[in-house]
């Protein structure tokens, strides 16, 4: 099982004055977090495109490019690239460049994004949400298939025998389809034979088990079972002490929920709600290393994912807390999970066992 981190480049806050730190500092802190994640043996770091004062990670590949030259083994990706409002040609060029500089460690996690600030920013209409995504995913996959492309669609000028370079050494880039649980997305990923990344950010995490099954069945229908690969992205924070870890994460998770709730018009969930989701089969992975390892292994039992990665720096969490959690995830949680499930089993998918 692979473990990792994802971040939106959360801006820190001065504890004494309550003043928000600079967005530039947040980018430098983000780079430091990736370097530490690599040093402690984590497998993946993803940056999620956002364009806000609190979450300024708008240009993920630049940060990942800096990380490429100062890290050794960690895989570097988006979480997610808001493909609907980007140009697939540009996305591919940037990630293929990152792949070259990192010696094959780049991954694209393509989604629609649950935050929508990129739509007005880049002049797209949310009313085209489904169509935009379908068309851009189609183009991105075609670019991955061949170096020259002839293509036309509705939202981008046509391409006539266009050369898209650089090309990845391995011939293609991992392109994950990210979804928050709409069943149609699981069908789409399965039929296309794409790896799928589930964002499980609330409620009970094991409710995604039927979706994983749907994804596998759709892949099997398309004769793509050997391409089946599932990852899970969830909020998570690891501390030495379980109760303290839950308290710290509550403070920042709640602050983030308040910010989002204000924009989207919902009341932030109360503490008892958080406590329910931060235990058992809930989607919030806050606790001590033993508890987090146990819950990851249990979830693996119902979903069979090969990677789980956590969003830790939310709601202006102090940078030292973020780094400490990364360290514990790598040095304490990972060995426990590996002991249960074995290290790096990218081909461990349930369906593979059938004909073996």
């Amino acid at each position: 099982m692979e473990l990792g981190i994802y971040s939106f480049g959360d801006v820190q806050k001065d504890a004494a004055t309550g003043k928000l730190g600079s967005t530039a500092d947040a980018m430098r802190n983000l780079l430091e977090a990736i370097q530490l994640a690599d040093q402690v043996g984590l497998d993946f770091f993803g940056i999620g495109e956002h364009h806000t004062r609190e979450m300024p990670a708008s240009a993920a590949t630049v940060v990942l490019g800096a990380a490429a030259s100062t890290t050794r083994t960690i895989r570097l990706g988006s979480a997610v690239t808001v493909l609907s409002t980007d140009d697939p040609v540009r996305v591919y060029q940037q990630f293929a460049t990152l792949d070259a500089l990192s010696n094959g460690r780049a991954e694209i996690v393509a989604g629609r994004g649950s935050s929508t600030e990129s739509f007005p920013l880049f002049g797209h209409s949310l009313n085209d949400y489904d169509e935009l995504y379908a068309e851009k995913l189609d183009l991105l996959l075609k670019i991955d298939e061949s170096e020259t492309i002839t293509w036309q669609g509705k939202f981008r000028p046509a391409l006539d025998n266009a050369l898209i370079v650089p090309r990845p050494d391995s011939g293609s880039l991992p392109i994950w389809l990210a979804t928050g649980g709409n069943p149609h997305s699981s069908v789409r990923a399965g039929l296309l034979g794409l790896p799928i990344s589930y964002a499980i950010i609330g409620g009970q995490a094991n409710r995604f088990a039927p979706l994983a099954e749907l994804y596998r069945r759709a892949a099997s229908q398309a004769d793509a079972s050997e391409k089946v690969k599932i990852s899970i992205a969830s909020p998570g924070f690891v501390g030495e002490d379980a109760a303290k870890a839950k308290d710290i994460f509550w403070m920042h998770w709640h602050a983030a929920m308040e910010q989002i709730g204000k924009i989207r018009g919902f009341a932030p969930p109360p503490r008892f709600h958080y406590d329910k989701e931060a235990s058992g089969d809930g989607a919030l992975f806050a606790g001590d290393p033993e508890e987090i390892a146990e819950r990851v292994v249990k979830l693996h039992g119902s979903i069979g994912h090969m990677r789980q990665f956590f969003q830790t720096d939310v709601g202006q969490m102090p940078h030292r807390e973020f780094l400490r959690s990364i360290e514990l995830l790598g040095t304490r949680v990972k060995p426990l999970v590996d002991a249960e499930l074995g290290a790096h089993r990218p081909a461990m998918e349930k369906t593979d066992a059938v004909g073996a």
Partner: protein, 215 residues
Amino acid sequence: MPSVHKIGILGAGRVGTALARLALTAGYEVSVATARPPAEIALLLEIMAPGAKPETAKALVASSDIVILALPLSKYATLRPDLFAGKIVIDAMNYWPPVDGAIAEFEGVASSSEIIQRHLPGALLVRSFNHMGYHEIEQEARPQGDPDRRALAVAGDDAEARALVAAFIDRLGYDPVDAGRLAASRRFGVGTPIFGAGYGREEVAGLLSAARAVA
């Protein structure tokens, strides 16, 4: 009152499939339709809502005692008004610009359900389910009398349709709270204290009358 056996759900996304499972568990016959041909959602339903039948929207509306709208709001104009004449229809959708984008005809004081009612003038439209998250709707269902049972507000212009929907909600595992006419659904849409909060019957009733007092 006529009895309710068959529930038809338009939409097979997160909300539609969660409501389908909930209704199946409560013993209803359930069918689901999307914009795609029924065969294309057969696998999806087999796994996400075993027992639910894929149908065309037209056949589903004609044969269902209650129809639930669980499609993206922006697609509402694809609903054919003639099919819905005299049907009891639950609108579970929301107008949610920060998440789904702005739609000109939904800007203004009327609730999105009032706009839907204008599009489907013959439907006995009732708004409910919209203020609870799809990730909670199954796990929070409780039997009658359970102290943790949550409430769902119900608004619609036809009193009998409201009562039938209330009985359906009760059987699914929630306390229905009668909010009155459809315009009252403004009091439990996006941005109201009820939206997304997860309250019980007394709290929802209290918040609805508090909103009535200031309206």
